[in-house]
Subunit: 83 residues, 7 copies
Amino acid sequence: MNSPPPTQAKRPLNVLQKAANRLVSVRLKNEIEYKGKMSNVDPYMNVILTDAEEFENGSKRANYGKVVIRGNNVLYVKIEDRL
Amino acid sequence: MNSPPPTQAKRPLNVLQKAANRLVSVRLKNEIEYKGKMSNVDPYMNVILTDAEEFENGSKRANYGKVVIRGNNVLYVKIEDRL
Amino acid sequence: MNSPPPTQAKRPLNVLQKAANRLVSVRLKNEIEYKGKMSNVDPYMNVILTDAEEFENGSKRANYGKVVIRGNNVLYVKIEDRL
Amino acid sequence: MNSPPPTQAKRPLNVLQKAANRLVSVRLKNEIEYKGKMSNVDPYMNVILTDAEEFENGSKRANYGKVVIRGNNVLYVKIEDRL
Amino acid sequence: MNSPPPTQAKRPLNVLQKAANRLVSVRLKNEIEYKGKMSNVDPYMNVILTDAEEFENGSKRANYGKVVIRGNNVLYVKIEDRL
Amino acid sequence: MNSPPPTQAKRPLNVLQKAANRLVSVRLKNEIEYKGKMSNVDPYMNVILTDAEEFENGSKRANYGKVVIRGNNVLYVKIEDRL
Amino acid sequence: MNSPPPTQAKRPLNVLQKAANRLVSVRLKNEIEYKGKMSNVDPYMNVILTDAEEFENGSKRANYGKVVIRGNNVLYVKIEDRL
């Protein structure tokens, strides 16, 4: 929805960048959740997930080899301990 | 909804650009899904699909020779293994 | 919702521009569809249609001599083979 | 929702500008429609209507001597043949 | 939702500015309406009303000595003949 | 949703700034209302309230020692006579 | 939804920045609430929470070791007295 925060203050985005190749859960505004390896993310929170699973109300709905999620749909990115 | 991320961090968009001419599934916020060859895509995720099919709740609803989807409606782009 | 993509990557928009004077179907987010000759389109996907017809759930609802659709409402522009 | 398209491509907006003082119908996203003389319009599609009538589901609901409609609510502007 | 239109084309906004200190009705997207003296307005359509009344479905709901309405909620500003 | 209006026209925002340390009521788009001392406000209408109360449909729901409300949720800020 | 306010007026954002490492409650537009330590926040209100808990209608729904919430979903950030 808007331009990314200026450089001096983008620490939440830096934390995300450092989590590249970690296992993450991405919940979208429509309450659907994607779990997979976050190959990459940009300041708009566009996210690439590989080997991803889609969950709705906790039950798995689909698998994705590689998916690019548009950042404006993202509610949060949870960085998982595993992997 | 906003200007594309700055150059140094747009890797998810680069991955999309490299998937040009691949078979993709584009799901929109309204839950409708389009499958077809992604002739092109831009940083706003405006997508051109050719020979596309429209699906709603898993059943095919229509065919499209060539369709330009406005990026702000996109939930995700799934890059298919086939093609 | 935002500024148009930068010049080097606006190919989906170029494809639209080249379709000027073609017959198109423009579906809006509210699921209403307009068919007519696309006299012109801009990078924000504002569209001018002439001799347009409005469809809701597949049935014709109205005729338009000339209508300017605001781009942010556009879901997709389908370029028709006819005309 | 965003900055207006750059000058070289704003032809739909030019067409609107040229329709100043014409009779128009402005439909909003909430499906309410305003008919009146379009005294002026800007690139964001903010519209001034004079001697306007408001319609909901085809029935007249109110009269307006002079009303300024905020552009982001606009679905389309239909340029009427009359006047 | 976006930056204000550039100077050369902001005539609807100029008309609003000239209506400062006039009696206006401001209808919001949520259908609630405010009537009062428009002390001031800016290009984003942020509006200051003084001695304002709030109406919902035509019945008065509250009084406001001074209220600042955020522009992005505005559907239209109707300039009243009175005052 | 967008950049703040340019300096020469931001009088509604100036009025808000001058109301710092006044008692205000902030109504959000979701119809919930917050009353408290407005310690500060910025041009995007991000608001800091101290000693705030939350109301839903007129009944108090919670107390807040210090809360920062994100501006894009704001419907209006009413400047109270008291305090 | 937009660029952050200019430097001279961003005091609400400064207050948030100073609350880093404090315990906060972040309520989102979808009414879900997250409580945890705010490791960091940026001008867009992207927030990193650690050791966070998710609440819906007052009952705890989940735990999060580390989560990055996208700012445009934020309704408010309440700074807690504890911690």
